[in-house]
């Protein structure tokens, strides 16, 4: 009798652990696979707004993609090309203007909390001036798309071949926070290199399958 209770208990336990394992197996991934990685960045920069709504070209900020191996994260100064003037949302600015008109005073310069962080890193005060004693400090973004160090990926070769950014990065213009769309695994790379042997958008390309294309 005792043993049968033990057996049933064990069986139930087994079923539960199998279920638990099954749950886990669905989330199983190979080491280094960061597909779906969507970390919180130090500044809540919205690609949906910049690349989607405002239709800023990817290359405006990631200017290395056509010139260098790395697409690059834009220098903080690049943001200031626009954000020297664009300091808060249009709605907030309009509201402030209306209020200023009502109160018969010049409108105040608004600075949204996220853009304020940007100003802080550059050591600027809310008016965009270098204050005395202000200290600039580098801005550490969290890297999302990262290949192992024995793999050498070159943005130039891919952008020259006519591959658009979304091929690897997904619909970034719809992402509020950037997420790694693809697995960026070797199998994923090689599959594409095999398929594009027939050409990209009708243009013949020569996607090498040699190991030393990426590994050296």
């Amino acid at each position: 009798m005792k043993s049968s209770i033990a057996t049933y208990t064990l069986l139930v336990a087994l079923v539960f652990s199998l279920l638990a394992l099954g749950q886990r197996a669905r989330g199983f991934r190979l080491p280094g696979d960061q597909q779906g990685y969507e970390p919180v960045q130090p500044i809540a920069f919205s690609h949906r707004l910049h690349a989607g709504d405002l239709e800023i070209d990817c290359h405006y900020c990631h200017s290395g993609a056509e010139r260098s191996r790395h697409a690059g994260i834009p220098a903080t100064g690049t943001c200031m090309n626009c954000h020297r003037f664009v300091t808060a949302s249009w709605g907030a600015v309009r509201e402030e203007n209306r209020r200023a008109q009502r109160e018969e005073r010049p409108p105040r310069r608004l600075l949204s909390p996220e853009i304020a962080k940007l100003y802080g890193h550059l050591g600027l005060d809310p008016n965009g001036e270098m204050g005395p004693g202000s200290q600039a400090s580098p801005l550490s973004w969290i890297r999302i798309h990262s290949l192992p160090d024995f793999a050498y990926f070159d943005h130039r070769a891919h952008s020259v071949a006519g591959l658009g950014c979304p091929t690897c990065h997904g619909p970034v213009e719809t992402m509020e926070r950037v997420r790694q769309q693809e697995s960026l695994s070797m199998g994923w790379c090689v599959n594409c290199h095999r398929q594009t042997r027939t050409g990209i958008q009708g243009a013949p390309v020569e996607a090498s399958l040699d190991c030393s294309t990426c590994h050296y």
Binding site: E38, R67, G77, S140, F150, Y152, R156
Partner: protein, 1015 residues
């Protein structure tokens, strides 16, 4: 930043796969803490296994991407920038292009626009970049050994100098060769501010005798510019001009030009080398005359007398008729006479009388103005031994109130029985201004460290009228200050070096040029090109005149008595005077001739070693005959081609700086030390240098050798010396291995003696084990190495090491044949005595079409690419080492350990485009595939075709003799394809039918031009 990341990530990766030492954890995965139960072994193992599985589910650690705040205009992360500058590793001042990545230099390349070095660098120049990232380099000014600030040190020094100005004794500035116009101008201004101030310069390996001889014979203390490129007969008395003498890169390029069989009008220069040991230059000579140091003088004098006869003049010096010698020099004299105006006689002797004889020979032969020029003359050495002797006397009399030292280290380089140490201690004010901690610095009151040359603005004038500019390639890493700024600061002028330099160029140099109308344009052009040509200062020379007294009494060298040996101290390629002996790359660079690394040794001729009963690795004691004097203990190295009565020892070893190498190399159970019992690498042989009749003398001291009975095994990279198979093993007709092939000049140019072009060998088989299913329709990379051009200088070995992140393994690992160099240079001997011949054969991975390594790899970690490369995939390699065992060329290198990359500063030199390999992985030459990829992608981006010569492997780029050609052999117009048609073209071990992509061009033997009755 991006490169920075790569580096940091590489380190992480190297520490073995520890990809998951979580610093922070992004989503997915969860902790396995609830698995912790107080259980026994089995439970623990279960938990551990489950934990590992969970670890597999976790994600890589948080990685940061940190962009610039305000980007510098020209920097694009991931792209290299090249800055033209000048190498100051030795005073030859070759031009270089510093490749910088994200603001830090990672590789030095030769500057093709430089008129002297013509796009090449030597091993020393290539390695000098490591000095920039040397953590032992001084960072702060020091007073009495304590770090201090520039303000404090300046105030104190200026106060003491003020006292000197008011009459507190003489001021002396002791430097090495200082051929920088801007710096010289500031030094002049500085010294003019004192009642008794002078600059004294000496070179640790002195060439003073050449200048002194010219002062006597031509009325001007000047070093000629030697034009080996114009010579048709070269006679060298112990001048190692391809290895260590004055300007090796420039001389090698010229030498190759004079001996090139591949140009439209082939030039066959004949080279005779008279020497007592086998030097790098001697190994390329068409004829070697082996003579002990004391025999050189009489030989030169006899030759001068014989030539005077031919010229119908009477020799002004004294000649003792010696029939034996006369007969020996007779053919030489005739050969030189036939090639008059196109011959060149050089000598490495530090004896002015000997150099006068050389001047006489060159004058008789009409070589001045042709193969050696006095205007524009060379400024690559200016040291004055006489002035040095004068300084020592002044110091002895206590007349020197202040001594400033820059660029030399007399305590180490010229101990002179410890005289410097006692004398320098008595100097009231001693200031050291070097860029590293020399042994002399230890005696200085103030140490004002200079920048590394890659951090500085500056200029050099290696040859009059040729200006070579230095520009900084990185922000200074420490609080150092260049000499030019220090001196001007003490004159109350606080301008930075950049302004001082520009000021001098504007006022003194710009008026002497003709190309540009505005100074800014001139400056910008010079900055871009790295060099500028100006009108040389006009110098007048008196007509050459020779008097009997100038020739001395024949020779100062004494012949060693029975049972004694004549000691020869020589500078070694890569180490020279020891200034860069703190560089691990240079320490591990095999000597081009002996193939020994890490330390010096006593070279003995085979007969001599037999006579005293020693063999390689036996420790012998080497002491002065008189009993008093220095004594050294060194391992023996048996050196064919050396004179029997000579023992040769390299200079530059045993310095305090080499103490840093204690502990270098992997630490494991059986690890052996790199340093000797005294904690240093090698033994300092400089105590044997004498100051004799106001000249430094390096050879000819008679010494006694006595075996100690102990042994110290040498770390040599090559243990097989002969190209011939021992008689006991050889099959008839197979006595000589065909790895190195030779063709005579006549065979090469005689249409009746056809040499089969291209690929043919005695045993070659057309049968192929493999189907011909790899057509290589696109590009196919190939390399050709010209054995006739290669001098073995080893610049390529270091260039490869820098480019490909090759680690240093230490003496003990080299001894176990585990060095990691991807490119080795095999050196082979054949022949006997004076007819000893030497071949240098650079041996990179041969990239065989039917590669034996590929067929045995169980995990396909080494496979062929569609462009003919033999690829090595590190992340796939599991380290079976089958490939290395199956490689007939033995070019594969295995990472037995995780080699040291703990030095964060030194890691800055790592090339971010090449993976740093971890333990258990095989590696080898990749044909610099990172350069191929870069050039291919860049050409694609620009929409242009890849041109031949656009891709240069690191070894090819730096080669002073242009011996290496790399390119696409499927392109019929490429140089490598053209060379494949050469009559000299062959492949090593062709009979194996592995079809290497690397081919060699045969050595050319040039018989004595006399014998065939030309002229």
């Amino acid at each position: 930043m991006a490169g920075e990341r790569t580096r940091q990530a590489q380190q992480r990766n190297r520490r073995n796969g520890s990809r998951f030492p979580g610093t922070a954890s992004p989503p997915a995965g969860s902790s396995g803490e609830h698995e912790e139960l107080a259980v026994g072994r089995r439970g623990f193992l279960k938990a551990a296994g489950f934990g590992l599985m969970l670890a597999g589910c976790r994600q890589a650690p948080l990685e940061k991407a940190i962009p610039f705040l305000i980007p510098p205009e020209e920097i694009v992360p991931g792209r290299s920038l090249y800055y033209a500058s000048t190498c100051t590793a030795c005073p030859a001042a070759c031009g270089l292009l510093a490749k910088t990545r994200d603001g830090r230099p990672i590789k030095l390349e030769g500057n093709p626009a430089h008129p002297l070095s013509r796009g090449a660098l030597c091993a020393l120049g290539q390695a000098s970049i490591l000095g920039l990232y040397d953590k032992w380099r001084p960072r702060n000014p020091r007073h009495q050994g304590q770090d201090t600030s520039w303000e404090q040190i300046d105030a104190q020094i200026m106060e003491r100098l003020e006292g000197l100005r008011r009459g507190g004794g003489a001021l002396r500035l002791l430097t090495g060769t200082l051929n920088s116009p801007a710096l010289e101008a500031v030094v002049k201004r500085f010294l003019a501010g004192f009642p008794d101030a002078r600059r004294i310069s000496y070179d640790p390996v002195s060439r003073s005798a050449i200048l002194d001889a010219h002062l006597q014979t031509h009325g001007k203390r000047v070093l000629p510019r030697y034009r080996f490129d114009r010579a048709e007969v070269i006679l060298s008395f112990d001048a190692d001009f391809l290895g260590t003498w004055i300007s090796p890169v420039e001389h090698t390029a010229g030498y190759r030009e004079a001996r090139s069989p591949d140009v439209e009008t082939p030039r066959r220069c004949y080279h005779v080398q008279v020497e007592s040991r086998l030097s790098l230059t001697g190994s390329k000579a068409d004829r070697r005359i082996v003579a002990a140091p004391h025999e050189h003088g009489p030989l030169a004098v006899q030759l001068a007398a014989a030539l005077a006869d031919l010229a119908g003049e009477s020799f002004p010096g004294e000649v003792q008729r010696n029939e034996g010698l006369a007969q020996r020099v007779e053919p030489l004299a005739r050969m030189l006479w036939r090639a008059r105006r196109r011959s060149l006689v050089v000598s490495g002797s530090p004896d002015p009388a000997f150099q006068t004889a050389c001047n006489y020979l060159n004058e008789l032969l009409g070589n001045y103005g042709r193969t050696l020029e006095l205007g524009p003359a060379s400024r690559q050495r200016e040291g004055d031994d006489g002035a040095l002797a004068g300084l020592l006397e002044e110091l002895g009399r206590g007349e020197v109130g202040a001594l400033l030292v820059w660029g030399v280290d007399p305590v180490f380089e010229l101990p002179l029985e410890g005289r410097w140490e006692t004398l320098l201690e008595q100097v009231p004010l001693m200031i050291s201004l070097d860029d590293r901690l020399t042994e002399t610095c230890g005696l200085a009151d103030y140490f004002c460290p200079d920048h590394h040359y890659l951090e500085s603005w500056g200029d050099r004038e290696p040859v009059e009228g040729v200006l070579s500019l230095l520009q900084p390639c990185i922000e200074p890493l420490g609080r150092t200050r260049p000499l030019i700024e220090s001196l001007s600061a003490w004159m109350g002028d606080s301008r930075p070096a950049y302004e001082l330099l520009r000021e001098h160029w504007r006022s003194a140099l710009f008026p002497r040029q003709r190309q540009e109308t505005s100074f800014d344009a001139f400056w910008d052009r010079a900055l871009h090109d790295g060099v500028a040509q100006i009108e040389p200062e006009s110098r007048s020379f008196s007509e050459a005149r020779f008097e009997p007294r100038m020739f001395g009494d024949g020779s100062r060298e004494v012949s060693p008595a029975e049972g004694e040996f004549s000691l020869v101290l020589y500078p070694k390629v890569g180490i020279l005077d020891g200034r860069h002996a703190d560089n691990p790359w240079l320490q591990e660079l095999p000597d081009p001739i002996s193939k020994a690394t890490w330390g010096n040794y006593a070279c003995l001729a085979p007969l001599a070693a037999e006579a005293i009963g020693v063999r390689e690795g036996d420790l012998i004691r080497l002491g002065a005959v008189a009993g008093q004097g220095p004594e050294l203990e060194l391992p023996v190295l048996v050196q064919p081609g050396q004179h029997e009565r000579v023992v040769a020892v390299a200079l530059g070893y045993g310095g305090k700086a080499t103490r840093r190498f204690a502990g270098i190399g992997p630490r494991w159970l059986e690890a052996g030390e790199t340093v000797g019992n005294d904690g240093r690498v090698g033994v300092n042989s400089a105590p044997f240098i004498r100051l004799q009749a106001r000249h430094l003398v390096y050879s000819g001291v008679p010494v006694r050798l006595s075996p100690t009975g102990e042994r110290r095994q040498l770390a040599r990279t090559q243990l097989y010396d002969a190209i011939t198979v021992p008689a006991s093993l050889a099959l008839p007709g197979g006595e000589r291995r065909p790895a190195v092939k030779e063709v005579t000049w006549e065979e090469l140019f005689d249409p009746h003696l056809p040499v089969e072009p291209g690929t043919h060998s005695e045993h070659g088989s057309s049968q192929d084990l493999w189907p011909d299913d790899h057509p290589y329709t696109g590009r196919r990379w190939a390399m050709t190495i010209d054995l006739d051009a290669c001098t073995g200088c080893s610049a390529c070995v270091i260039a490869c090491q820098v480019e490909n992140n090759i680690p240093v393994v230490g003496r003990d690992e080299v001894r176990r044949q585990r060095e990691m160099h991807w490119l080795r240079i095999d050196r082979y001997y054949w022949g006997q005595g004076e007819n000893l011949r030497v071949a240098h054969q650079p041996m990179p991975c041969q990239h065989c079409q039917n590669a034996p390594c590929e067929t045995v790899c169980p995990v396909l970690a080494t496979v062929h690419s569609a462009e003919g490369l033999n690829q090595q995939v590190y992340n796939r390699c599991v380290g079976t080492r089958y490939c290395a065992n199956n490689c007939p060329y033995k070019v594969r290198r295995f990472n037995w350990f995780d080699y040291a990359h703990e030095d964060e500063l030194e890691n800055l030199v790592l090339n971010p485009d090449v993976t740093v390999r971890s333990r258990g992985v095989m590696e080898k030459c990749s044909f610099c595939v990172q350069r191929i990829q870069e050039a291919k992608i860049e050409a694609k981006r620009r929409g242009v075709e890849l041109r031949d010569g656009e891709i240069q492997s690191a070894c090819q780029q730096t080669c002073p003799a242009s011996a290496i050609v790399f390119g696409n052999i499927n392109d019929a117009g490429s140089r490598v394809a053209q060379l494949a048609q050469s009559a000299r073209h062959y492949r090593v071990l062709e009979e194996l039918n592995v079809k290497p992509a690397v081919a060699y061009l045969k050595l050319v033997s040039r018989p004595d031009p006399q014998e065939e009755g030309h002229g």
